[in-house]
C-alpha cells in the first residue's frame, strides 16, 4: 500500500518535532481552510511573499505525507551567499532553485521536472519578497506552468503576519501571530495570462477575508457635513444613504439618519454603539407615534438637538471623512418654525432664527423681533442648547407634496402628525426659504434637486452637483474627484 506507515526521514522529524512546535509556540500559526489541501495528491501552491518565514509557514500547513514531496521555488543567488544557508534549505525544504536572469535556461524546467515526477510545488509569483503588507502583480510563469499541467490543482494561499514577524529589511525575528488562509483549488482554463490574473484575484480575495486590524490614521481634517433636506416622502433618506455609500469609496462616511450608519470602502460596516445615539433613536421612535403636532414638537426638538450632539460625537468616535446628514438639525428646525408660524417667517426672520440656533444670537439685539415671535428660541438659548452645527453643503430634494403623500401612503406605515398635504406644502416653502437664506446670506452652497426622479438618477445628479461645486471642504473625497462608475 502506498500510504502504509513508513519511518519518517530525518528532515521530516525535524519538521515535526522541532520546527512545527517552535513556530506554533512563538508565532501561533492560525490556519483557515486547511481542508482544501487535505485530499490533494499533487498541487501547486501559490502564495504572497513578504518574508523568509513564508516557506516554513506553508510547510506548517502541508499534510504530513507531502512534507518531503513539496518543493518551494527559491532564488539560487540569494542562498549561494552562504553554504550553510543553502545546506539548511536543501535539508529542510528541498527547493527548486531558479537563477534570476539565468540566460536562455528555461526557468520552469526544474518545476516541470518535479511536477511530472508527481511532486508538488510552492510558488511565490510576485517574484521576490514584496514590501511589508503589499502585494505585487503576479508574474505569468505560474500560469504557463499550470497550462502545461492542467490536471494539477492550483491552491491560492494568503499569508499574513510574516511581514511583521520578519520583514524583508530586518533580521530580528519577533513573535507575531501568523495566519495562513488556504483557498479552494482551481484548475487551469483560458490563457496563461488570464489564469495568472485569476490566481492573483483569488489570493487578494483571501487577503480581503482576513479580519482587519488597527490602522493609525492622521486626523487633521475636520470632516465636512453634507445635509440632505426634503419633506417627508421626498426620498431624502434613500438619497443620503446612497451618497454616504458613494462618498465612502476610498474612506469612511457616516450617515446620520434614523440611526447612525457607517460606510467604509463603499459598503456598510458595523458601527460601534454610542450612548447618545441610543437615547436619540428612542426619542425618534416616540415622535413617529405622536398624535398631534403639539405632542410631536418637544420630542422632535429634543431628537434634533441630540442629533446635532451625535454629529459632534461622531467626529471624535468614528473619525469619518465625511458626514452625511439626513436632514440638518439647524435647517430643519428653522424650516419647521414656518410650519408653526407661517405668516411670521420672512427672509429676515429666517436669518435671525438661523443665527440664534447656530450660536450667533449674541450678534442680535435682545429685543429682536425673533424672540417675540418665537419665545422658544429664547429658552433654547438660555439653556445653552443653541449651538447647532452649520453644514458645509446643502442638497434640497424638492418634490411636490402630492407625490410625497402618494409615496408615504404606499409605504403602508402609519402617518405621522404632520404628514398632510397642506402641512407638507408649508414645510416645503420653509425649506425653500431656508435654502435661499443659507446660500444668499451665509454663503453655503445649497442646491435643489428634482425629487420626482428615480433614486439612482437623483443620486447621480447629487454627485454631479457636488463635483461641480468643487468645495474645498470636500476636496479630499476621492469618490467625488474620480468619475465613478455610476456617473
Amino acid at each position: 500500500m502506498d500510504r502504509a506507515w513508513r519511518l519518517p526521514s530525518i528532515p521530516a522529524l525535524v519538521h515535526l518535532l522541532f520546527i512545527r512546535p517552535v513556530l506554533k509556540l512563538l508565532f501561533g500559526v492560525h490556519v483557515e481552510g486547511r481542508e482544501h489541501l487535505a485530499d490533494l495528491d499533487r498541487f501547486i501552491v501559490v502564495a504572497n511573499h513578504n518574508s523568509h518565514l513564508d516557506t516554513l509557514l506553508l510547510f506548517q500547513v502541508l499534510p504530513l505525507r507531502h512534507l518531503r514531496r513539496t518543493h518551494p521555488v527559491a532564488a539560487f543567488e540569494y542562498f549561494s551567499r552562504s553554504r550553510f544557508g543553502r545546506w539548511l534549505a536543501e535539508f529542510l525544504v528541498q527547493p527548486v532553485w531558479i537563477v534570476r536572469g539565468g540566460g536562455d535556461e528555461d526557468p520552469l524546467a526544474g518545476m516541470r521536472a518535479r511536477l511530472s515526477r508527481g511532486r508538488s510545488i510552492i510558488i511565490f509569483p510576485e517574484g521576490t519578497r514584496g514590501r511589508a503588507g503589499e502585494m505585487a502583480r503576479f508574474k505569468t510563469g505560474v500560469g504557463r506552468l499550470a497550462a502545461e499541467f492542467p490536471d494539477v490543482p492550483v491552491v491560492p494561499v494568503f499569508l499574513t503576519g510574516p511581514e511583521k514577524a520578519l520583514p524583508k529589511t530586518r533580521s530580528l525575528l519577533i513573535p507575531i501571530w501568523n495566519q495562513v488562509s488556504v483557498g479552494p483549488p482551481c484548475f487551469f482554463h483560458g490563457s496563461a495570462g488570464e489564469f495568472t490574473a485569476e490566481l492573483e484575484g483569488a489570493v487578494r480575495e483571501l487577503a480581503a477575508g482576513v479580519v482587519p486590524s488597527h490602522r493609525r490614521r492622521k486626523r487633521t481634517r475636520r470632516p465636512p457635513t453634507l445635509a440632505v433636506l426634503g419633506i417627508d416622502g421626498s426620498g431624502k433618506s434613500t438619497l443620503s444613504r446612497a451618497l454616504a455609500r458613494r462618498l465612502s469609496a476610498d474612506g469612511r462616511a457616516c450617515l446620520v439618519s434614523d440611526g447612525v450608519e457607517l460606510f467604509e470602502g463603499g459598503a456598510a460596516v458595523q458601527a460601534p454603539p454610542l450612548l447618545t445615539e441610543k437615547v436619540r433613536t428612542t426619542l425618534g421612535r416616540r415622535t413617529k407615534v405622536a398624535g398631534s403636532l403639539k405632542s410631536y414638537k418637544i420630542p422632535k426638538l429634543a431628537e434634533l438637538l441630540l442629533r446635532d450632539h451625535v454629529v459632534d460625537g461622531l467626529r471624535d468616535w468614528y473619525a469619518p471623512d465625511v458626514i452625511v446628514l439626513d436632514g440638518s438639525p439647524l435647517l430643519n428646525i428653522t424650516a419647521w418654525t414656518g410650519l408653526y408660524r407661517r405668516e411670521a417667517l420672512s427672509q429676515a426672520m429666517c436669518l435671525s432664527v438661523l443665527r440664534v440656533l447656530s450660536g450667533q444670537g449674541m450678534s442680535l439685539p435682545a429685543d429682536d423681533p425673533v424672540y417675540r415671535t418665537f419665545p422658544e428660541l429664547g429658552t433654547v438659548e438660555r439653556l445653552r442648547l443653541a449651538h447647532l452645527g452649520v453644514p458645509d453643503a446643502v442638497l434640497f430634494l424638492d418634490v411636490d407634496p402630492g407625490v410625497s403623500m402618494e409615496r408615504i401612503r404606499s409605504r403602508g406605515e402609519e402617518r405621522q402628525a404632520h404628514e398632510t398635504a397642506d402641512k407638507l406644502d408649508r414645510l416645503r416653502d420653509g425649506y425653500r426659504l431656508v435654502c435661499r437664506v443659507v446660500e444668499g446670506e451665509l454663503g453655503i452652497a445649497a442646491r435643489t434637486l428634482d425629487g420626482a426622479l428615480g433614486a439612482e438618477d437623483v443620486a447621480d445628479r447629487a454627485m454631479e452637483e457636488l463635483r461641480r461645486l468643487e468645495l474645498p471642504a470636500f476636496a479630499h473625497l476621492t469618490g467625488l474627484t474620480e468619475v465613478d462608475s455610476h456617473g
Binding site: 492560525h30 511589508a132 511583521k164 530580528l172 519577533i174 513573535p175 507575531i176 479580519v211 482587519p212 493609525r216
Partner: protein, 288 residues
C-alpha cells in the same frame, strides 16, 4: 485522608470544565462560550500545578497566557517596522516579572514594568531607529499592551502565591460575571439597566461562592461580601474599557480567532479585577 475537600472541589471543577468543553463541541453553542473554555482550562492548569505540584511551575502557565495576549496585541496594533526592538523588550518583561512573582519578590514585581520596562522601552525605540514620526504613539501602544496584558494579569499570579484559593475564587467570580454578561447580552437591552443587571445579578452567586470557600481562602466575611459586589463592577468597567480599545484595534467580536482578538477578548474581564482585588486584600489583610 486521601481525599479532602480541596481535592474534591478541584475534581468537581475539572468535571465542570470537561462537561463545558464537551457540550461546546457537541452542540457548537455560541462561539463566545467555545472560545472561553480553553482559557478557563489554562487557569485551571495554573491552579492545579501551583497547588499540587509547585507554584514555581504553575506560574509559567499564566506567563504563557500573558505572552499569548501580548502577542495578539502586537499583531493587531499598527506598529512601525523600527519598533521591533521595543516589541522584543516588551516580551522580555514577561519572564522577568513572572520570575519575581514566583520568587515572592514583591518590590521588584511591582516596579518591574512601571519603572524598568517603562524606562527601557522608550530608550530602545530611540536607539533602534532614526525615524521620529510616530514614536510617541508606538511607545504608548507598547506600554498599554504591557500594562494591561502582562502587569494586570500578573497580579492574579501574585494573588495565587498568597492564596491559591483566593485566586481560584477571583477567577471563578469573573467567569460567573462573564456568563451573566453573555446571557444578558443575548437580549438587546437598553444600556443603563443592562449594566446594572450585569453588576447586580452575579453578586449573590459570587457571595455564595466566596462564603463556600471561606475555610480555604480565610477571607473575613466583610471582605468576601465586598468582593462579591466589587468584582462584577470591576468586570463591567474592564469590559467597557477594553471593548473601547477593541473597536480601535479592529477586533470584530463576531469573528474572533486566535491572533485576531480571541485572547484579549477573553482576558478583558480580568484586567481590572486582578490588580484592584490584589491591592485591596493586601491593604486590609495581614496575611497578604
Amino acid at each position: 485522608m486521601p481525599f479532602e475537600a480541596p481535592q474534591i472541589t478541584v475534581a468537581a471543577l475539572f468535571a465542570v470544565l470537561t462537561l463545558l468543553a464537551l457540550i461546546g463541541r457537541r452542540l457548537g453553542v455560541a462561539s463566545a462560550v467555545l472560545t472561553y473554555v480553553p482559557y478557563l482550562w489554562a487557569f485551571f492548569l495554573f491552579f492545579v500545578l501551583s497547588e499540587f505540584v509547585s507554584f514555581a511551575v504553575g506560574i509559567w502557565v499564566l506567563a504563557a497566557l500573558s505572552f499569548l495576549a501580548l502577542r495578539e496585541f502586537f499583531t493587531l496594533v499598527d506598529l512601525r517596522i523600527q519598533d521591533r526592538w521595543g516589541i522584543l523588550a516588551a516580551y522580555l518583561a514577561i519572564p522577568f516579572m513572572f520570575w519575581f512573582i514566583q520568587g515572592d519578590w514583591y518590590g521588584m514585581f511591582i516596579i518591574s514594568i512601571p519603572v524598568y520596562a517603562f524606562l527601557v522601552i522608550p530608550a530602545v525605540i530611540a536607539l533602534s531607529g532614526r525615524e521620529v514620526e510616530g514614536s510617541v504613539l508606538s511607545i504608548g501602544a507598547l506600554d498599554l499592551g504591557l500594562f494591561f496584558l502582562v502587569y494586570c494579569i500578573g497580579h492574579i499570579g501574585y494573588l495565587a502565591l498568597y492564596s491559591t484559593w483566593t485566586a481560584i475564587l477571583v477567577v471563578a467570580a469573573v467567569a460567573v460575571c462573564d456568563l451573566f454578561a453573555w446571557l444578558l447580552k443575548a437580549r438587546d437591552r437598553a444600556p443603563v439597566p443592562g449594566v446594572a443587571l450585569e453588576i447586580l445579578a452575579p453578586a449573590p452567586v459570587i457571595a455564595v461562592l466566596a462564603l463556600a470557600v471561606r475555610p480555604w481562602t480565610g477571607l473575613p466575611l466583610v471582605h468576601s461580601l465586598v468582593l462579591a459586589v466589587g468584582i462584577p463592577g470591576l468586570v463591567a468597567l474592564g469590559c467597557h474599557t477594553i471593548d473601547h480599545l477593541e473597536a480601535d484595534l479592529g477586533i470584530d467580536r463576531r469573528r474572533l480567532q486566535p491572533g485576531r482578538g480571541e485572547v484579549i477578548n477573553t482576558l478583558k474581564s480580568f484586567v481590572y479585577v486582578g490588580p484592584v482585588v490584589f491591592h485591596y486584600l493586601r491593604y486590609f489583610l495581614d496575611t497578604y
